[in-house]
Amino acid sequence: MTTTAMKKEMDTMAWQKVCTKVDLVEFSGVAAWLETADGPAQVAIFYLPGQGNELFALDHHDPFSNANVIARGIVGDLKGAAVVASPIYKQHFRLEDGQCLEDEDVKLRTWKIEFKGDEVWVEG
């Protein structure tokens, strides 16, 4: 990758505020609308207070059902990894990297996400 291309990518990946802490649901998910350089994206945001990593952002779109529902799945841990189970056909996706545990070829997109004070910021 050339220096110009790298610079361009850095320009387009901007941190944006999506909501505040009160909009989140503890140990569960909500959906957010994100405008990114690649077009709009529906993002599922999970909030696990007290865990090492408290916030996760991944695709709201469920590739198995083609519905936008991931934020409405049950959060849990399997073999130690935090996961969300799709509410439609129950596949599990790792919150950390979006990897589907039942099908190694399927992976949800993830975004960097963090608190700035009480505000929730996503890089996208």
Partner: protein, 838 residues
């Protein structure tokens, strides 16, 4: 000739169920290395399931009835030539002749099956006189039915009643004409036949017995007029002949193979005909003077034929013709010498209940020790136990009558897995005996899955699943193997154990439970198995709103949003309509709400109305309007009480003996909101006609002159199970108390997602044990069970009313936390005047 480069030519004539089974056997056993196999099928379809033919009229097509995938033959290396009938076997030239060519053979297997017998009645070839055997026959019946309002089946045997069911499925007024004095003369006796007639007539099918049709001629009001021996007549638009089958032995006759006096190609134990190069299997084959008109013996013949073709040892040694059938929804079972006319000195036991319309008969050896045969009409629940006694020669209990007496009258011994001999067949599809299962366990299988992998047991029709599990569990326990019943990786407890912990320790949240009793300190999130299970337990015990902050992350999405998620991410909304009774004003509100929010409307099987396609963000507004109009949540999304279905009862119906609607509303209001291991459905019928189908519910109530009969543990769905009579002639108060105890005992002891029917089947001691606990208080817990239920009843509140009054709870009902737009990817289209997902 014998080298693999020049395989022997094997021709299979006939691509029915048995012929197809032989192909599968050849493929699975490596016989294709030795034989090049060509199959000729006269029909245009590849082999299909003839046993379930009548389902063709209830939505199944040729493809779903097919016994294999379309490319099975090609990928297996077998040439299948459908639509090509064999017209001659030229034994001198060793060639099979069709209208398209001549094919050399080394071996032939005849699997041509049978054809329907059409009695030689003048006029039997008129247009609209049909038979019931193939898919093409069914297409012809369907076409003829379009110009018909009524139809007659000639023949009241097994296939005749199947055909009658098919005609009913085409909405024809249907009659069955039988030559003998009763229906199913082969399987049942006069008492059984009479009961069968009553039950079938109650379905609106006219039954005419002792009728010999003399001729068929033009009718006055219908296409045909059937004239009987006494000059009585019956007019009808459509006639289906189903008066027995005859072996299709024409090819064998013409090439001079030995044929039985009444037809059928004579075969030996190896299924060889009089020409050893030619074998015959299935309904065309005559073994020991018998034609076997069932599919299971045909499959056994196919296995014997395989052995003959591959120099194996398997022989055909006759077959048990015991059968368990459901004809027009009526159970009929026949085991061994059901008529008792093959065993001189045999004794008969008979039980006939005209009220519930059940007939059971046992034929027992003269010393009273062995079961020689049995006959069941109206209820096949005793079939499995009786068959085990019969097939394994197990000595009968001291009072053999107890096997067929109603279970409420005392001990109804069922055979536990320990009582079965090693030779008992557990899975008849794959011919797995109890001994095979024991051997598998001794060889190292440690659980049900392991046994299934090795033996294939219960991977065929699945009918033996419960029996297999009980045998495996019993054998594992006998060997001291501890069966791991942990609910998931987070808890080393069963659901029942978690329930007890929650109650005894008064634990009220998931985090407290996993904190104190979880497996691993670093894995404290739980999962989608244990979280909803614990949520259900907490709700059963304390009945706090499921959307409270501590509970909401535990819920499945349906409970979280108190609606049923559909495949496109929208939800369906089902308000409670207790007992199915609804005022016109409320009906109008449902219509108005559906219209306003663009909801697809459908009436449910539970007598209420389902509104589909609601967007997440619209749910609070929809419920605001519904609650305003007096509706409350219907818990259609929960593992909880769903509906109490009722017939209209004595208020309107001239047959009703009690107010079934009133009782249904009472019960629905009493138990609404009860969270349980799985969904629960009730039915209340106002008389024994049972229009509410209460016997297919978890709790079924049928009115009597003196009160209510209570049935428990029924189920519809994938594995239907009739509810069993639990208590009789209860008054209203007794009924509530009994159901209180029963439901709470179920809530306490069932596994997660275990319906009452499966719970009941796995309950040690069965129905008798349940009666002891609930009716006789053998555990001394009934006061507590009643108290617990009263707590749930007293703390009921509508979850939706609770949620819409709490802004904190409503904040989840947004499409996006940062944007008000609805999810743009949900796209609807119009069909039959309503919206549906595009």
């Amino acid at each position: 000739m014998m080298s693999s480069k020049n395989p022997e030519q094997l021709i299979i004539i006939g691509n029915g169920m048995v012929g197809h089974h032989l192909v599968e056997q050849l493929v699975d056993n490596g016989a294709l290395e030795r034989y090049q196999v060509t199959v000729f099928g006269e029909e245009r379809h590849r082999a299909y399931d003839r046993v379930h033919l009548s389902e063709y009229f209830s939505g199944r097509d040729a493809d779903s009835l097919a016994l294999c995938e379309a490319d099975y033959y090609a990928t297996s290396g077998v040439e299948l030539r459908t639509g090509e009938a064999v017209i001659e076997i030229d034994r001198s030239a060793h060639e099979v002749v069709t209208d398209q060519g001549r094919y050399p053979y080394d071996r032939i297997v005849l699997a041509t099956g049978s054809f329907p017998f059409v009695p030689p009645i003048p006029g039997n070839d008129r247009e609209g006189c049909l038979v019931y055997r193939t898919l093409d026959d069914l297409d012809a019946i369907q076409a003829a039915a379009e110009n018909a309002t009524n139809g007659v089946v000639v023949g009241g045997g097994l296939l005749g009643l199947e055909a009658a069911n098919a005609l009913r499925g085409l909405n024809l007024d249907t009659a069955v004409v039988e030559f003998a004095s009763r229906l199913m003369p082969m399987q049942v006796d006069n008492e059984g036949g009479e009961l069968l007639r009553e039950k079938i007539e109650a379905l609106g099918v006219q039954v005419l017995t002792e009728r010999a049709t003399q001729r068929i001629e033009d009718g006055d009001n219908s296409h045909h007029r059937m004239v009987f021996q006494d000059d009585k007549v019956l007019e009808t638009d459509l006639i289906v002949f189903s008066a027995g089958i005859r072996p299709r032995d024409q090819l064998a006759r013409e090439c001079d193979l030995e044929i039985g006096e009444r037809g059928g190609v004579v075969v030996d134990d190896q299924c060889r005909t009089s020409d050893p190069a030619i074998l015959a299997i299935g309904e065309v084959a005559l073994w020991n003077q018998s034609i076997f008109g069932l599919v299971a013996p045909g499959y056994q013949m196919a296995k014997a034929a395989l052995a003959t073709l591959t120099d194996g040892d398997t022989r055909f040694g006759g077959a048990d013709m015991s059968t368990k059938l459901k004809l027009l929804g009526v159970d009929v079972g026949s085991i061994g010498d059901a008529h008792g006319n093959q065993n001189p000195g045999a004794r008969m036991f008979r039980y006939l209940d005209p009220l519930t319309q059940v007939y059971r008969k046992m034929v027992v050896s003269s010393d009273g020790k062995k079961l020689l045969g049995a006959m069941l009409v109206g209820d096949n629940s005793a079939y499995d136990t009786l068959l085990q006694y019969y097939a394994n020669g197990i000595e009968l209990p001291d009072e053999p009558a107890s096997l067929i007496l109603p279970q409420s009258s005392g001990a109804a011994p069922t055979l536990g897995p320990g009582a079965l001999p090693e030779t008992a067949t557990i899975c008849s599809c794959h011919n797995v005996t109890k001994g095979d299962i024991c051997a598998t366990i001794d060889d190292g299988a440690v659980d049900l899955g392991g046994v299934k992998d090795v033996t294939k047991a219960s991977t065929g029709c699945g009918g033996c699943t419960a029996l297999l599990k009980s045998v495996v569990d019993h054998e594992l326990e006998a060997r001291g193997v501890e069966v791991d019943k942990s609910i998931c990786e987070h808890f080393a407890f069963t659901r029942q154990e978690l329930y007890d912990i929650v109650r005894v320790e008064g634990i009220k949240t998931f985090s407290e439970l996993i904190g104190k009793h979880g497996n691993d300190e670093t894995h404290r999130l739980g999962c989608d198995i244990c979280k909803p299970a614990v949520a259900s337990i907490l709700a059963s015990c304390f009945n706090e709103p499921i959307t409270d902050a501590a509970h909401v992350p535990l819920q499945d999405t349906n409970d979280t949003f108190m609606a049923n998620m559909q495949k496109n991410g929208t939800y369906s909304v089902v308000p409670r309509v207790a007992g199915g009774e609804i005022t016109p004003d409320k009906l109008i509100v449902l219509g108005e709400v559906a219209k306003k929010y663009g909801l697809y409307s459908k009436v449910t099987g539970g007598q209420r109305i389902d509104l589909f396609g609601a967007r997440l963000e619209d749910l609070p507004d929809i419920w605001g309007e519904l609650i305003e109009a007096g509706f409350e949540t219907g818990h259609a999304y929960g593992k909880s009480l769903r509906t109490v279905k009722s017939c209209v009862g004595s208020t309107w119906c001239r047959y009703g003996v009690q107010d079934s609607v009133g009782m249904a509303i009472q019960l629905e209001n009493r138990y609404k909101g009860l969270r349980s291991p799985h969904k629960i459905k009730f039915g209340v019928s106002g008389c024994t006609r049972e229009c509410a189908e209460a016997q297919s519910k978890d709790i079924g109530i049928i009115a009597t002159e003196n009160g209510w009969n209570l049935y428990v543990c029924g189920n519809g769905g994938m594995r239907p199970r009739h509810a069993e009579l639990f208590a009789t002639d209860l008054d209203d108060e007794q009924l509530y108390r009994t159901i209180d105890r029963f439901l709470m005992f179920y809530v306490r002891t069932a596994d997660r997602l275990q319906r009452t029917s499966v719970w009941r089947e796995n309950l040690d001691g069965g129905l008798d044990y349940l009666k002891e606990v609930i009716l006789e208080d053998s555990l001394g817990i009934n006061d507590e069970l009643e108290r617990q239920m009263q707590t749930v009843v007293d703390t009921y509140q509508c979850e939706w009313a609770d949620a819409i009054s709490d802004p904190e709870k409503l904040k989840r009902f947004r499409s996006f936390v940062n944007d008000d737009r609805p999810d743009p990817s949900i796209i609807m289209t119009s069909e039959r005047g309503q919206l549906r997902p595009a």
